[in-house]
């Protein structure tokens, strides 16, 4: 048999050996390629295979008030993650978490949309302690779930500082798309309003990275678990000009049933001592996602508790504007500080071809500027308006920023409504204005709506030398004058004398504003509004300081539909300044503050007889 002749066998054996060598050699070559030449690539892949990077949010900076009291700090909270895994198993994990974390169906859908390959999914930024305990207890049933302790925002005073401070919440998709937040990632908490928003970049800090080792099913394993590769850097602390006890005090004295705003500024530098809007909201409710029911309640409430009236609400300034008219007239030199208006108030006046009434049909007689302010005499201010003239009124009002924002360091502020020139009437009302428009403007009516903050800024100028810095919430920033009224010392004294007339014996606001230790001066106003003609908005704008001294606090109170500036707004203002100044000078706080309260409580006020 030829085929199995030893010679033929040897030939085939050599051939076969060659084939075997070729096959084994080819395999060895491929292993050499994979294990030696490309090994570093695969090592990298192996790492990314088993290591998951989890961003660690930095503790947010603490927010302090002007006295160093903590307004907002952090307490331990629990975040729940589903670690990166194939989409299906992440979906399953979500559904299993649903009952435990009490997630709504829409929320689950949102979360499902966020599932990305190789990225851990943040399910709950602030899980209940009960839910966390349940998850830890049954950790075997929940592979791929990671619970991380992370700092959680707490607002110590809750509702009292809600509007000024804002709140933190999970970053929204549309926010992520903006250039400001390019460094941010889904699931991060960011300031949504107020100070938290304004100083977001300061407060946020720098995220850290935690390395987690997981197995193929996404379960946490190994010694790597929880090692923080890059520790987070806490956000910077923020010190505010706000006076926390004062905010709490205002929150406690502002009538629950009323809506409105209180703004208190330090005339020395424009520091915002208080910025309160009622009704308010509790920022703690928003931390870790607000509950749907509460959100619906807040957003559908006709009282608009989410609306910061202090900086967004615009109201006809009415009589508190008369100080602006007076200031503009003095600045323009069309009236002397002590000059008596030649035409007396007889309950009305025929001026610029029309008959205009004063609020007092009995008339005020001959008045100088201080008297006109004290009596809020319309007839006097009509005449002053004519002396100023419409164009000069518009120019001056514009220069004083009544159609602009004050520039407070808050993310939201509405500019006032005030005509910059005559075209305003053409644009808005469709007619060219006559000179007579100045009459309405002079008494704070007409096309003129201002925020409480703006009015407070204006009164700051009267508490100073005529210059007005931009209101600042952040402590330590240099005051920058945004505008200035050229007022002589005498002119300022006369204006204050007029305001003193409002709050001294005989003045309308006397009983509501008279305080034992401090002199309160100011102006009341009743802002007509289209919503309810019977019930005007109640204004009080004024300032206070030690008897015989310079004003140390400017305060503006607005109470929507409060009817009476002197009876509704003025007492709130007086109680606000009393609280602030008593604390400043170390005088014990008393809840019976104003003269009216003394009488109501049956407590004698011997100091009031002076």
């Amino acid at each position: 048999m030829k085929a199995h002749h030893p010679h033929r066998r040897r030939g085939r054996a050599k051939f076969a050996t060659g084939i075997i060598g070729l096959v084994i050699g080819a395999i060895a070559l491929q292993f050499f390629r994979v294990q030696v030449l490309q090994s570093s690539d695969y090592k990298l892949q192996a790492e990314s295979n088993r290591l998951r990077l989890l961003p660690i949010p930095a503790p947010r900076g603490t927010i302090y008030d002007r006295n160093g009291l903590i307004i907002a700090d952090n307490i331990p909270g629990y975040a729940v993650y589903v670690l990166a895994a194939p989409r299906d198993s992440m979906n399953v994990s979500l559904r299993r978490l649903q009952p435990i974390l009490d997630l709504s169906d829409p929320r689950i859908e949102v979360l499902e949309g966020r599932i990305r390959r190789n990225l851990p999914l943040l399910v709950d930024v602030d899980a209940d302690l009960d839910a966390v305990a349940a998850l830890k207890e049954r950790s075997n049933e929940f592979p791929g779930i990671y619970i991380e302790m992370r700092p959680k925002r707490r607002y110590r005073s809750g509702a009292a500082i809600g509007h000024a401070l804002g709140f933190v919440s999970e970053i929204a998709a549309d926010e992520l798309a903006t250039p400001r937040f390019t460094e941010y990632e889904q699931g991060m908490l960011i300031g949504k309003a107020g100070i938290e928003r304004q100083y977001e970049e300061l407060l946020q800090g720098t995220r850290g990275v935690r390395i987690l080792e997981v197995d193929a099913t996404g379960r946490l394993v190994g010694s790597f678990a929880g090692r923080e590769e890059n520790p987070s850097l806490p956000g910077e602390d923020v010190h505010l000009n706000l006076d926390l006890p004062l905010m709490e005090w205002i929150h406690s004295i502002f009538p629950d049933s009323m809506r409105g705003a209180v703004v208190a500024l330090d005339p020395a530098d424009g520091a915002v001592l208080a910025l309160y809007s009622a009704p308010t909201m509790n920022p703690n409710d928003f931390v870790g996602g607000i509950e749907t029911d509460l959100w619906n309640e807040l957003s559908s409430d006709h009282r608009q508790p989410l609306f910061n009236r202090a900086v967004l609400g615009r109201y006809a300034p009415a009589s508190i504007w008369k100080l602006a008219t007076a200031g503009i007239a003095l600045d323009a030199g069309v009236v002397g500080p002590t000059e008596v208006m030649p035409v007396p108030c007889t309950g009305g006046i025929t001026i610029l071809g029309q008959y205009k009434r004063c609020w007092n049909p009995d008339g005020h007689g001959f008045l100088d500027l201080a008297g006109a302010i004290a009596n809020s005499c319309n007839v006097y201010f009509y005449q002053l308006g004519v002396r100023i003239g419409l164009d000069r009124m518009l120019d001056a009002g514009t220069r004083l920023g009544f159609s602009r924002r004050c520039g407070i360091d808050l993310p939201e502020e509405n500019p006032g409504v005030f005509p910059q020139d005559r075209n305003f009437w053409v644009d808005v009302f469709g007619y060219r204005p006559l000179e007579g428009e100045v009459l309405s403007l002079a008494i704070g009516q007409g096309p003129n709506d201002q925020t409480p903050l703006k009015m407070a800024q204006f009164y700051t100028a009267l508490a100073r030398d005529g210059s007005a810095p931009a209101p600042r919430l952040l402590k330590g920033t240099d005051p920058t004058d945004s505008w200035r009224l050229e007022l002589s010392r005498l002119a300022i004294e006369e204006l204050r004398k007029g305001m003193r007339g409002v709050t001294s014996p005989g003045g309308t606001a006397y009983f509501g504003t008279a305080l034992e230790h401090w002199e309160v001066i100011g102006k009341t106003g009743s802002g007509q509004n289209p919503q309810d003609p019977e019930r005007p908005h109640a204004w009080f704008a004024g300032m206070a300081g030690p008897w015989g001294g310079e004003p140390e606090i400017v305060v503006v109170v607005l109470v929507e539909f409060g009817e009476s500036g002197s009876r509704m707004a003025a007492p709130i203002a007086a109680k606000t300044v009393d609280f602030y100044l008593r604390r400043k000078y170390g005088i014990p706080i008393d809840t019976i503050q104003t003269l009216a309260e003394h009488y109501a409580a049956g407590v004698l006020a011997p100091w009031a007889r002076q």
Partner: protein, 413 residues
């Protein structure tokens, strides 16, 4: 004394020594494959079960290696018929098992589950060796290859129906290895393989066209050594394979194509495209030159590796022992195969040499496909690595094959 005892037991100390070394190495790697961060009962105790199987295999080796070669020749035909019946029976009473749960390749005997395909390989080797060894001349024409092709093709089709692509490939390896040792001219073997080549190459028209031109030239060159009917049938078979494949494949929807891929081998792609291959290559590649250390492979520990104690055991070797480990293992395999070649070369008895080459053919296919798939050289196919992968029947039958080979060496002077 001891050496003589060992020699007496092992018969061929070189072959048996290498194989025993490899098997013990395999047990160690199976042990390592069970060392997981989150241990599973299937893999943790596997090394002990493998040790038990090794004991059984060694007993079988001892017994089988005492059986004269002639006896094998006598039982060849009944054994082959029995194997085919068993394979057919798995279609009716077969069950899936372990990591091959989707393939009905096991017969449950109550106390043990048995894979008829492993037995059928040995039976087919013997049948082919018997048939070709008893022929006066080497196969010289395609017609001479028909009978061997049928002998190997019958069990091949049956395992393909299970469906077990890996074992089917092993039968092809057996057929070609035995035909080669029977003295079949390599060009004839190429012609035999040509329709299969045409089928694979047909997915690229240009390559297929070039291939077809080469084939026609080839047929023309060998026109005097082939019957016309043979040339024509090779031509037609190639043409048919090449032309039918593409339209057939394209007429299927993507999910149907996937279904066919899954039909061919259900273990492919259970979790997204190429997951197993990627994980296997990451494990092997990250092992680097020296590996991460025995039992310390991170990809394995964290369960990223698929089928790590059976089909992908080589990825564990690659990850933990590095290129040095894989190279040494490959060299061991090469030495074993080379030893088989030497034994066949020295065998005067055609039957003996053919049996050894049949065994060599199986192992070469298993080694190439199993190791090759872990580094992306061949598509992923459920096929174990001889002596190393976990699996009782396979280990037992591999050792029986060793026993047969050793017996051959014993009977040759």
């Amino acid at each position: 004394m001891v050496r003589r005892l060992i020699r007496y037991w092992a018969i061929d100390t070189q072959l048996v020594g290498l194989v025993l070394l490899l098997t013990l190495f395999g047990v160690a790697m199976i042990y390592s494959a069970g060392v997981l961060n989150d241990p599973s009962p299937v893999t943790t105790g596997a090394w002990m079960r493998q040790l038990v199987w090794l004991a059984i295999a060694l007993v079988a080796f001892t017994l089988v290696s005492r059986i004269p070669l002639r006896w094998f020749e006598w039982v060849t035909m009944p054994g082959y018929v029995f194997a085919v019946i068993m394979l057919a029976a798995t279609k009716v009473i077969g069950t899936g098992a372990g990591t091959a749960a989707g393939v009905e390749s096991f017969i449950d005997l109550g106390f043990v589950r048995f894979q008829p395909a492993e037995f059928a390989k040995l039976a087919t080797i013997l049948a082919l060796a018997r048939y070709l060894g008893s022929r006066a001349d080497e196969p010289a024409t395609l017609k001479d290859l028909v009978s061997p092709a049928v002998i190997a093709g019958l069990p091949l089709v049956l395992v393909l129906l299970q469906p077990d692509l890996g074992s089917a490939l092993a039968f092809i390896g057996i057929l070609f290895a035995v035909l080669f040792w029977a003295g079949t001219a390599p060009w004839l073997l190429l012609l035999l393989a040509s329709p299969g080549v045409a089928l694979i190459l047909s997915f690229n028209t240009l390559i297929w066209s070039g291939y077809f031109v080469v084939l026609v030239i080839f047929l023309y060159m060998y026109r005097y050594r082939l019957y016309l009917v043979e040339s024509v049938s090779v031509f037609i078979a190639n043409l048919a394979a090449g032309t039918i494949a593409v339209p057939l494949w394209n007429s299927l929807a993507a999910y149907q194509q996937n279904r066919i891929l899954v039909f061919l081998d259900p273990s492919v792609d259970p979790r997204g495209a190429g997951y197993q291959l990627i994980q296997s290559m990451v494990a092997i590649g990250s092992g680097g030159l020296t590996g991460k250390g025995f039992t310390l492979g991170t990809q394995k520990r964290l369960d990223f590796l698929p089928e790590q104690h059976t089909d992908f055991i080589y990825a564990v070797i690659g990850e933990e022992l590095g290129f040095i480990g894989t190279l040494l293992t490959l060299i061991t395999f090469a030495l074993i195969l080379y030893r088989l070649v030497s034994m066949a070369e020295q065998a005067e008895d055609p039957f003996a040499g053919l049996v050894i080459f049949g065994i060599l053919g199986t192992w070469l296919v298993h080694i190439f496909v199993n190791i090759g798939m872990t580094v992306g050289m061949v598509p992923i196919t459920g096929i174990p690595l001889p002596f190393v992968s976990y699996g009782g029947t396979f280990l037992l039958m591999s050792w029986v094959a060793v026993a047969v080979a050793a017996r051959v060496a014993h009977e040759e002077p």
